[in-house]
Subunit: 148 residues, 4 copies
Amino acid sequence: MAEPYVALVPLRWSDMDAYGHVNNVQFLRLLEDARVIGIAEWGGDGPSMLDEGIVVSRHAIEYRAPLSFRPAPVRVDMWVTRTHGAGFDLGYVVRDPEDLGETVYAVAETGLVLYDFAAGRPRRLSREVTAVLDRHRGEPVAFRWERR
Amino acid sequence: MAEPYVALVPLRWSDMDAYGHVNNVQFLRLLEDARVIGIAEWGGDGPSMLDEGIVVSRHAIEYRAPLSFRPAPVRVDMWVTRTHGAGFDLGYVVRDPEDLGETVYAVAETGLVLYDFAAGRPRRLSREVTAVLDRHRGEPVAFRWERR
Amino acid sequence: MAEPYVALVPLRWSDMDAYGHVNNVQFLRLLEDARVIGIAEWGGDGPSMLDEGIVVSRHAIEYRAPLSFRPAPVRVDMWVTRTHGAGFDLGYVVRDPEDLGETVYAVAETGLVLYDFAAGRPRRLSREVTAVLDRHRGEPVAFRWERR
Amino acid sequence: MAEPYVALVPLRWSDMDAYGHVNNVQFLRLLEDARVIGIAEWGGDGPSMLDEGIVVSRHAIEYRAPLSFRPAPVRVDMWVTRTHGAGFDLGYVVRDPEDLGETVYAVAETGLVLYDFAAGRPRRLSREVTAVLDRHRGEPVAFRWERR
């Protein structure tokens, strides 16, 4: 199993809500940024999955600690938890960068489906894309909460 | 089992992203609005749970159909799926208002924890609050995706 | 001179920032909503200016009073302050709805340019569109601050 | 006259709207980020003006070129255009970083007022803060549009 991909995602002051913490919804925004940075980089010179269209089919996110704005970015560890015919799942841990400590703010998982916007339908994961994703495979996300 | 609470939540043109659809993250923003509207109303004259502090502990959301901006609000059906010592879970269906049709855009669930900001710790669901929530109890959310 | 057009624009809880007030940037978002609502309505059965493309060329906004989230919408008075060959200016007052009082939260002005996205260049205000806009003409915005 | 302060402000994919460009309102968000970064840095070891409270009293912004999301940040040149008893004005140019070219996306100006939140009233610029600001004084913003 490979090391997770690490994206450093800057916060914005406006990510905070009236409680003075990064709003729970904005965490999903940080994950979006991590995906945009990461998937472009994973693609390398090869097929850009983003250009061809990826649609989010689901999210699950669990919050662990409150986060306030600071100039330092958060570190998002990101890896592939599953691939299937028409898409793949990503796992994430949102945490402090190494030099700031051990705090974990959230863990999350996103389901993604490859989509052909022109044709208006999902498309199949190519062998090339599957190979790219397999280089980033990792464990299932360790949610504390499980369906009861 | 009670009828779900219905919140009509207006869209904003800016909810759309570069794909021309309401962005997946913005759906969580719509749910936040539904909670703010609904929980204030549920509280009635009684104890305002919001004023005393509620923290989101997790979200799960599954997208079913693309949504584009239109002047008409979306309808969010919202109900309580679980209560426990320190909080409760809400289920939602994001759909068209009755006069617009049957389309379901998303189903979701949020875990909420009551929090005493002054004391810096979770607090227990009072008997009064539990009674309010019980009037809005409903079925588990029918996610298509289940933990494998 | 015509009465200004009145748009009722709902707030979102997330419009508030860490100071507990509707963030200054979000006021521009409320104006965007007022434009989307208003310009669609002004167009009537006639030419939809929005469908053909409008680009914001400038904003000026002056804040008068802090605003906090509440379920009641704000009232945005909106009118045309100028038309010229390639576009027009809108003036706004953001205030409480009549039943809530006299508070003015902001006054603002936006420069808009009609744009032909397909051809990649500005386009001229048609006689029809000018006629629509003239029905909404009003006074210049009464900014307190003026260029010194 | 001093060189303007330079802040490199990262974009987010979500800054784009349905037209596929960084939304005009989001430019103000980028300026907010530049202020948060810059004013903290200007303060140095001395009095933190941000901690004591700054309120935005007005914005003027003029858009010059469309901007699309890219991994590279925008460069925001920022300087003081005026100081007065109770606050100061900032000028900005939003442009490409040096290695990307000469494109200017927007010019803008913000009026800021120092505010004592505890006492609920504006406060006077101290001699220390004025001295800090004077080190960043520059020319008025060269808006193309002027009040007619």
